[in-house]
Amino acid sequence: MASKSQSCSIWVGSETGILKGVSLSKQQAFNFCEMSCLSRDQEVCVLEWGDPLESEVLVGCANGTVKAFSTEKGIFTESKECGDATQGKFTGLAMMDGSLVTCAESGILKVWKEGCTDTIEINVGNGVCRMRQNPSRRSQVATGGKENPLKVERSISPVSNMVKNDWLDLRVPVWVRDIGFIPDSDKIVTCTGYHQMRVYDPSSPQRRPVLEAEFGEYPLTALSLPASQGTVVVGNTHGQLAVLDLRKGLVRGCLKGLAGGVRGLQCHPTLPLVASCGLDRFLRVHSLEDRSLLHKVYLKSRLNCVLLSSRNLELSGADLSGEVEEVKQEGEEDGETDEVWDAMETVTDKTNKRATEKAAEENAVKGPKKRRKVAKK
């Protein structure tokens, strides 16, 4: 059990209450649960790391319990009652200076300190869809939901509680589905149920979003920020995953393969990878550079949330077995395409440069043609 959990690099929570660990190097998925005592009210709603060393996974269940799972030992170490089913499912979990912060759908944000039984409770409004913690400033959490505008809580103490609302012109309906903090800056990205993606800057005097972009026609359910700056990955209920640009709000590209609604999305902290899980019972890992599918794992229940560990997910070709179909060896592929390009035209190394050069060439070709047409007329 311990060796299994130590080798898992991706953790997934399912609707049946099973915590699944996936080891990409071994090409296997493991269920960490008791088969005899499964029940639907143990449905995993949120997954979060219990500590920065990633040795503990906090599992928030639908019946209000928060369980701690140790990745080294491979067992559930403790379980805490943090509310009940009447408050709604958990929408966020966070560890802040040793105390546990939980937020439920009804809007009750609670801070549970280790050891003592009293809790600090804040109401952030009804219908909360998501609560997230700022990874760089751990004392900040943001909450948002249906008709519940984005609020940022600066520090969890009843005295200094700076709650911030966003202001929308013409009373456009608000439905914040997921929140992301842009590292190295104060900005926050949200995706809404009305297929919009918005970037807010709390430090600016304006309360309007800095950038607003639309994608698709279906509600965006999940969002994640990759390691490389300037982009964001969003997923919607139709199974469409897209990489959006944060400077102009354009679609950089789509990731294909998902057949069901995206429930959980996470980008790897350092590598250009994104893991997605959803209602079609598959966990998929895509590469963000060429938007290809690297791994696809069938996990028999509908999946709710995914958690990536920051260590290197080994992607070497030698370890792969027949179970996974679409895997490409990254180094080799780059080498092959490089040779082709060398043979043809100018030498380029990076895919981005190649794309822009190609575009530049096309523009150059179109340019003189246009001029010729004008001259004729």
Partner: protein, 319 residues
């Protein structure tokens, strides 16, 4: 005349063969080309029959030691193995199915009650199709859709105790779509309906179906998605079939198309059965399966058919 000259040429130059790399399509004259092609086909067929005869003789000569007959390749044989195929002993899937939205039906806690309606202002064919469908499904009621929004119809259905809502969509006077919504909070399946045959158009059909509950046959729903859809179809009919009625409704899945047939059977003796087809006949193809009741804009989809991604291989099926 033309043929005559050709044959003479052959008999004169018997030893001279056609030049290599010669193909029948290079002859410019249409009649001669056709003639040569026919000759080629006949020779090919003759050779094939000879080979077949030879093989049959060899097989008989060997008797018991003959190698087994080769199985021809079909698309069903060559189907790409789907990793979501359900293993009957799988505990997790069993738990998932035991606690899903249909569990109350399969645990015999609720009985199905079906509401059949159409899109607005249906034409004769669709109306007749709905009536015939309601005779095939026991405890079903047909209502005229007075331009009402489905999202408002659904809470009313739930309050009146309906378990299923079927909406037949019509296009150009012919039914072409079906939305099957399981009511309390269950999944909504959207199908494309094709090849609808009403009772009048059926050959050698029996009398109209009686009120007895039919038996249900679900063929070939092997994958996890297939299981969900199969359970959905099973939940349309009452749990206990009345064998006195000798009626059976079959949902046969082949290559992602679901064929619905309604028969009456009679056992002539222990080995022989006679069947009469009654009732409407149609084929369905799943377009999307949505979690929750009908909400096409804001609902979450469990499975969506994406033609360009999923239909790229001729041997890959999803149901």
């Amino acid at each position: 005349q033309m043929y005559g000259t050709h044959v003479q040429a052959d008999s004169v130059e018997e030893e001279a063969a056609f030049p290599p790399n010669f193909s029948v399509s290079e002859i410019k004259n249409k009649q001669r080309r056709h003639f040569m092609f026919m000759k080629l086909k006949q020779e090919k067929r003759k050779r094939k029959l000879e080979l077949k005869k030879k093989r049959k003789k060899e097989r008989e000569a060997l008797g018991d030691k003959a190698p087994p007959k080769e199985v021809p390749k079909t698309i069903e044989n060559q189907r790409i193995y789907d990793e979501t195929t359900v293993n009957p002993e799988d505990e997790e899937v069993a738990f998932d199915e035991g606690t899903d939205e249909f569990s109350s039906y399969f645990n015999r806690l609720t009985n199905p009650k079906v509401l059949i309606t159409t899109s607005d202002r249906p034409r004769g064919r669709t109306v007749r199709f709905c009536e015939q469908l309601s005779t095939a499904v026991p405890d079903s009621h047909v209502y005229y859709r007075r331009g009402l929004a489905l999202k408002r119809v659904i809470p009313q259905c739930i309050s009146r105790g309906f378990t299923f809502l079927i909406v037949i969509n019509e296009d150009r006077k012919v039914p072409n779509g079906m939305v099957l919504c399981h009511l309390p909070n269950g999944p909504t399946a959207h199908f494309k309906v094709s090849s609808v045959r009403l009772r009048k158009e059926m050959k050698r059909r029996g009398k109209d179906p009686t009120e007895h509950s039919p038996e249900v046959i679900l063929n070939n729903f092997t994958t996890r998605l297939g299981h969900s859809i199969g359970r959905m179809f099973a939940a349309l009919f009452p749990h206990d079939p009345q064998f006195i009625g000798r009626q059976v409704a079959t949902f046969h899945n082949q290559r992602d198309f679901i064929f619905f047939r309604f028969h009456r059977y009679i056992f002539k003796n222990e080995k022989k059965v006679g069947i009469q087809e009654l009732g409407p006949r149609f084929t369905l193809k799943l377009r999307s399966l949505q979690k929750g009741t009908f909400d096409s804009k804001y609902g979450e989809y469990e499975w969506v058919h994406k033609r360009h991604e999923m239909d790229s291989s001729r041997r890959k099926f999803h149901l």
